[in-house]
């Protein structure tokens, strides 16, 4: 029963992706877009598989992934801890809340030049930008998740002798986990976008860099290869996150 369910859902999930690719092919075939702007999918995937086995392209992917993971990890750690601390302590909340209100909606890319000068042209500036952009969705979800934790769960743990600071790890964190993971999922997608954007603006390696160099010289196929790659990376990472979620939330009714 279960494996069958899984295979139907995989088919269902593949269907729209196949449709999108078919639509793409259609747009090209029927001339809605010139091939120089939108190359046919067959070419793009062909080039992608060619590229995937090359050492240079793998290095570009590695550079992007390092930035993506580092930035995302920092965002998760900071977002979850600040979010929980703010939910748990009115004093911290009073400080964090206005700061979040001001900092969250800032367009972080505008700070990118300053970051470049501060942290250099390497990984540091990009990781910081990714972390800064992915932080707030995670923080906000954590905060709301943590501040609506069922009161009696906390009471039960306190009565069992759990010290206050440990309540945060032993009750608030697991109880807020569904919300935190939703925030992480959004943060992950944003990380993908931002790492790419940062590499597009200024970089000498990474998928974003591959894309801009291709775009400047109108190498449409080479431009779409990194796009498809980031797309697939997003899909894979999200699948992994989904598995983590299913494991962490196995006790929750919604899992």
């Amino acid at each position: 029963m279960m494996p069958q369910l899984r295979s139907t859902s995989i088919i269902l999930g593949l269907a729209p992706i196949v449709l999108v690719i078919a639509l793409w092919q259609g747009l090209v075939s029927f001339g809605f877009a010139p091939a120089v702007l939108l190359p046919p999918p067959g070419y793009v995937f062909g080039r992608l598989f060619q590229q995937l086995v090359t050492w240079t392209f793998q290095q570009e992917i590695a550079a992007t992934l390092i930035r993506l993971f580092a930035g995302f990890a920092i965002a998760v750690v900071l977002g979850v801890s600040i979010g929980i601390a703010a939910a748990a302590s009115p004093a911290i909340n009073a400080v964090v809340r206005p700061i979040v209100r001001v900092l969250a909606p800032l367009p972080k890319v505008a700070l990118y030049p300053a970051l470049l000068l501060l942290l250099g042209f390497g990984h540091g500036s990009k990781i910081t930008l990714v972390a800064a952009d992915a932080l707030f969705p995670i923080l906000l979800s954590t905060y709301y998740g943590a501040s609506t934790v069922e009161q009696k769960l906390i009471w039960s743990a306190m009565a069992a002798g759990t010290p206050r600071y440990q309540i945060l790890f032993k009750v608030v964190l697991p109880a807020a986990m569904p919300s935190i993971l939703t925030g992480c999922r959004i943060g992950l997608v944003i990380s993908c976008i931002v790492v790419f954007l940062a590499e597009m603006i200024t970089s000498s390696d990474g998928l974003g860099h591959v894309l801009v160099t291709a775009a400047r010289t109108f190498q449409a196929v080479d431009m779409f290869v990194p796009l498809i790659t980031i797309s697939l990376l997003g899909l894979i990472l999200n699948g992994l996150l989904g598995a983590v979620r299913a494991y962490l939330l196995r006790g929750f009714p919604e899992a």
Binding site: A110, Q151, S179, L181
Partner: protein
């Protein structure tokens, strides 16, 4: 009459902002970096922007796009998210698709988007739409998944059709979670409102900001950042008020008894 603690609570945001500015000021003085002006320089540039009729029109144009993008995104994403949350098939259908589409940076697709939608409002609104819809869809999705089954059963037993259940039970029950998504969406709306104007610009707050950035006028850049931050505060405060009204029933009855004070 205001009690000292209430006074402290009122003052906290102001103090936090002042603290932020002070840290900024100190950091920029320490770094001595032209592209990172001091807070005072940035604040001094604000009146120039706000005093300029053209800049105001620019900012209003951005806000209008943001409102439109946000509105459309919310009205599309909530139903989609709720449907995904209540139907395995819908979730299985859309989830991979969304996860393939969203990570692609819109800036990279500009040539094709321009091909079909031009360089005007539609393109920018689309970018804002995509930014906002991401958190709203996923929070609605998870919120709908977590709705207590027996509440739906009760509704079904009263004769609510599946569609009615979605609107009259899943929606209100998931509302706190949906609003969390909307709040994140609001933040992203402001960000994408600016960044959507990075590559192609006609009028808008991002126009001012990126022009200044291209020209190395960092005091204007940071003045715009302050202005956007201020908009963030206002929108957020307004949003919190709406939220408090809508989900009063779900507020925890006691504060988390964990304060370390």
């Amino acid at each position: 009459m205001i009690s000292p603690s209430a006074l402290a609570r009122r003052a906290a945001p102001v103090l936090a902002c002042i603290g932020l500015l002070a840290i900024w000021q100190a950091a920029s003085l320490a770094l001595k970096n032209d592209s990172f002006p001091t807070a005072i320089e940035a604040i001094r540039a604000i009146p120039d922007i706000l005093g300029d009729r053209e800049s105001l029109i620019n900012i209003l144009a951005s806000l209008r796009r943001m409102a439109v993008g946000f509105g459309i995104a919310v009205s599309v994403s909530i139903p989609l998210g709720l449907l995904m949350g209540r139907s395995r098939a819908v979730a299985a259908f859309f989830n991979p698709l969304l996860m393939v589409i969203y990570p692609v940076p819109k800036a990279a697709l500009m040539p094709i988007i321009m091909l079909w939608l031009g360089v005007g409002d539609i393109t920018k609104t689309l970018v804002i739409f995509l930014g906002v819809s991401l958190p709203v869809i996923y929070h609605s999705f998870e919120g709908a998944k977590a709705v207590e089954e027996k509440m739906l059963w009760s509704g079904a037993a009263m004769g609510l059709s599946p569609a009615q259940r979605l609107v009259r039970i899943v929606l209100p029950a998931a509302l706190p979670e949906i609003l969390t998504g909307c709040r994140t969406g609001l933040v992203l709306a402001l960000i994408t409102m600016i960044t959507s104007e990075m590559i192609a610009r006609q009028s808008g707050a991002g126009n001012i900001l990126f022009n200044a950035l291209d020209m190395g006028q960092y005091d204007t850049v940071f003045a715009m950042i302050i202005i956007v931050g201020a908009m963030g505060i206002c929108l957020d405060a307004f949003f919190e008020r709406v939220r408090a009204r809508l989900v009063r029933w779900s507020e925890p009855q006691f504060d988390l008894p964990l304060s370390f004070s």
